[in-house]
Subunit: 340 residues, 2 copies
């Protein structure tokens, strides 16, 4: 269904001041760009994910419909397909890969759209989790190029509590001696498994477990933790995960120099219609933080997903009712009258 | 203020079926047992804590007043003072220490009270976190010996979500190669530090961080995580922590054979007046679970601590208003008319 591609850049200066001599964005497209080049939807990936996992909202009759939209699923830096510690040449390989900000992703994505497709207006930018953080950054930094924004289970900036959570999974991964400061000979599997187990309790809510939904996926709690979660990250490169965690920890739309670090100014710059959809039971992107962001956005609606699936609400394989609510919200946005 | 002591037992059969040839409970007392031996209050410790940390509720004019009460602070098995992997002789030393249930603690505590002090009726059993789990077990298993029960930030059984959290900190600790299956030559410090960092995000609530309270303890978030939390467990023995995690994971008042695994039957057996006080923002002992327990207890009151301090609400060094609410609840219970 999707056409995979990649786009290369040279001398990419990052927000940190570091310069990557070469960088690549991997992506996949779906649908056809119309003659006016105004039916493009950008759909960035989330933490440790790839564009393959974006398929759940894409298809004929779905919220993102290739018969109407030109959908560009773009891989975040650090995910192993776009430039990452694991695929970058020395001297920026492995633990020497520079710090990447969400804004660095957005700037390269913008160049990708312009250079590769001649797109300078997005009908919609849509993302989940770190992808939602990317959508927020797009809408704040390039408001004249974003027609609508949809953010699922994400935030306009990483909160201190969320930061502390990420800090803890970094520590768990790095506790594995095989990690060796990022210069590992073989993958630090015990650390990667500890990250997976941490996700089991963080991603799924107390209510999810209280309802016994985990027992739909395994016979026992131990089996659920082991089979569903422990191996979740073992095929990932540890430095790639750490690079993305760093990006996640520093996410803040106010970090764009035009806002001088002022988060409220950045929120106020988001001119487009937007729906911000947190999950009621998300333990690290809780709805209270979304409410704060929406309060500062001129044309945003807070629409809380009343789900017990925690951070996974609305994601692939979760409750179909939640996914339907996500699709309905996106459809509503996309079909709303043009606003500029 | 406290008089330390210890009491030894021989041939202790555990709920698991294993027998410890010798076991010890460490404890401290405060105040004087009256002639009728009916002014005793039992105050067990919590995870990785010792009786020294129980002092915050004890003192003249405080909820637990040595001028009126005989307060016995007893150390949980596995805490390094009572029998633990780190202080037990072969063949039950280190990772070979047997599984200990909360009920095993209660049974030994009961013998301690009887054999050492001739106490067979507790005016009150009071505990926080795993100490609260111990209080629940006391009140369910020995209802004729417990006059009142107070449980702060604990539960009558460990929920699957709480279990998953503990599972994740076990995995983080064990990811450290120095752990070596529990046969370590030097302490697995990276793993212990990862446990500390996990606690930073789990113990303190999103609201705590959102309010910026962490910046009262350090200049920056990183400094807070590093100084307040990362070293929190580095002086603990890893096998001791793992033994207590196992006790915590298996906590369930219904595990007493007299209840045949029936949690509701065990709750119904709690005949005494009780106040169950969860913290509104506790992420792993959430108030919803306390409400479920209270619904099954004949004479219990659910009194939610409206705190942003998460699991630390009411604990030593937390918000004085929360501690005052804890003290008020205990005082109310203690001063309530005798009920038998």
């Amino acid at each position: 269904m999707m056409a995979d591609g990649h786009h290369d850049f040279e001398r990419v200066e990052l927000l940190s001041g570091a310069t990557l001599p070469r960088a690549r964005l991997a992506f996949a497209t779906c649908g056809t760009l119309n003659a006016r080049r105004d039916n493009a939807i950008l759909f960035p990936t989330w933490f440790s994910s790839t564009h393959h996992k974006n398929a759940w909202l894409i298809g004929p009759g779905k919220a993102l419909d290739p018969s109407r939209h030109f959908i560009v699923c773009v891989d975040l830096l650090g995910n192993g397909l776009s430039s990452s510690p694991s695929n970058t040449a020395a001297p920026f390989d492995g633990p020497r890969f520079p710090a990447v900000h969400i804004l660095d992703n957005v700037r390269l994505q913008r160049r990708l759209l312009a250079e590769r497709f001649g797109i300078d207006l997005l009908q919609l930018v849509v993302g989940r989790s770190m992808g939602a953080q990317t959508a927020f950054q797009w809408a704040a930094s390039f408001p004249s190029q974003v027609g609508r924004m949809f953010a699922l289970c994400g935030s306009a900036r990483t909160t201190p509590h969320n930061y502390a959570f990420i800090d803890s999974i970094k520590a768990a991964l790095q506790a594995d001696c095989r990690w060796n400061g990022g210069n590992y000979d073989s993958s630090p599997l015990a650390g990667l498994r500890a990250v997976g187990r941490a996700y089991a309790a963080w991603a799924m809510s107390p209510e999810y477990y209280r309802s016994g939904l985990h027992l739909r996926e395994a016979d026992t709690l131990d089996a659920y933790l082991e089979r569903r979660w422990a191996d979740n990250f073992i095929h990932s490169d540890a430095n790639d995960l750490l690079a993305m965690m760093r990006t996640w920890q520093t996410a803040d739309i106010g970090a764009d120099p035009q806002f001088g670090g002022d988060w409220q100014r950045a929120l106020a710059a988001i001119a487009c219609p937007a729906i911000v959809m947190p999950s009621r039971t998300d333990q690290y992107f809780p709805p209270e933080d979304s409410a704060q962001a929406v309060a500062g956005m001129p044309r945003a609606e807070l629409r809380i997903l009343d789900s017990i699936w925690g951070h996974r609400a609305g994601s692939p394989g979760s409750d179909p009712a939640d996914i339907a609510a996500v699709e309905a919200a996106i459809a509503e946005l996309v079909d709303s009258p043009p606003t500029r």
